[in-house]
Subunit: 210 residues, 2 copies
DNA sequence: CCAAAATTACCGCATATGGGCAATTGAATT
DNA sequence: AATTCAATTGCCCATATGCGGTAATTTTGG
């Protein structure tokens, strides 16, 4: 009965059938161990915090505290534990909410047993298993898809606007008059279709203009 | 000589040896075709834009225009083409610059031929192949690791600050006086360690406070 | 080469903003 | 029960900001 090198897994899944099945697959495979399985988040969270496993398979659609909320509050307290979300179908919002909450992997419930075990092993070894289409969505979300309508000078000023510099300081740094800075900023606002510094900063950051 | 279902690949790689090797591997494999290989970005970009292939293997460390720059300017013009970056070693900055530029995959140059072909096939089918550790880094970058120091009221006001609402409108929406709004904002600034709306917006967006 | 856009600059004005000071309430801790 | 601290509310003032208008010079693109 080896224990040292087994990957300890905890399952949180409300469907009793699926929970039993997952437990059997994992606990029955060499190198893996699953002695704890929960049907809801509350008791699972208590147990996980008390005795952190290596990996948690977390259902997204749980009654009560959702799996995403569970990950959010647990992730900071059990830093060494990785979370793999389980879901029926891919849903953009759930995916991003999950990874923002701290989930490391994202799998569909109908993932074949062999792939499931491979995914658990992969997170344990520092990877982030996910389906091909989810990976693409995650990567695509980084892409700056708005082409920058501003000139070089305007971008320079926008960057300083975002840092909270006032007109006078910007003027001093760029060796132009404060009024010229204002003129540029008017043009920036017009091109970004905003009418205040706050909105400009928001747009600049969201669209990756700086 | 089948053409319809072959994945057409273009290689941009300055090392002649590696370029030849990659070309041989790809063009010699059924289902893949590589008739164009370049040693630098300039001519590659011209050719790729004129006749867009399915996939481009792009070296990151190119003389002249870098591979990242190449992807950045090409990606918007040849929407149907996917880019896989090739690199000697994993480097956080290069990885994120690449995916922000529009690269879909990210592989090490010592990737075995079989894995290379699998990766090309994967991007062609809508995935985003990358090494396990890169996937982890990409996913980790989403994690909100700053816990929110603001009260409910302050968060509500911060959200409106980010939308560029002025004090009076915020006051009206929350049924409090403008002066109270200002007081809250002062506390928000103190907690976020900023001293202007622009900086607060930037911090809120960067740290995922809203 | 010419037209359009970018960059520079100035004026005036109404309002928004940030900083300092202070009081009350409510929750938490001692 | 006493006390402390955070949250909420409020006011005054100097300055920053946004907006409207005008205009000269330089750069860019067709």
């Amino acid at each position: 009965m080896p224990a040292a090198h087994e990957i300890e897994v905890v399952i949180v899944e409300d469907d009793g059938e699926i929970r039993r099945l997952l437990t059997l697959i994992i606990d029955g495979s060499p190198g893996f161990s699953c002695k704890r399985a929960f049907s809801e988040c509350e008791s699972a969270m208590e147990s996980i915090e008390k005795d952190p496993p290596d990996v948690v398979l977390m259902d997204i659609g749980l009654p009560g505290i959702s799996g995403i909320e569970g990950v959010r509050s647990l992730k900071d307290r059990v830093a060494g534990t990785d979370f793999i979300m389980l879901t029926i179908q891919e849903d953009d919002q759930s995916i991003f909410d999950s990874i923002c909450a701290g989930a490391t992997g994202y799998l569909l419930k109908d993932t074949p047993p062999a792939d499931l075990l491979a995914a658990i092993k992969e997170v344990y070894e520092g990877g982030s298993p996910m389906t091909a289409s989810i990976a693409r969505r995650v990567v695509s979300s980084f892409k700056k898809n708005v082409e920058n309508p501003l000139t070089k000078r305007e971008n320079e000023i926008l960057a300083r606007l975002c840092d909270g510099e006032n007109y006078r300081d910007i003027a001093g740094a760029l060796f132009i008059s404060g009024d010229t800075v204002r003129a540029h900023i008017k043009n920036i606002y017009r091109k970004l279709q905003v009418s205040s510094r706050a909105e400009a900063v928001k747009k600049a950051l969201k669209d990756g203009l700086i």
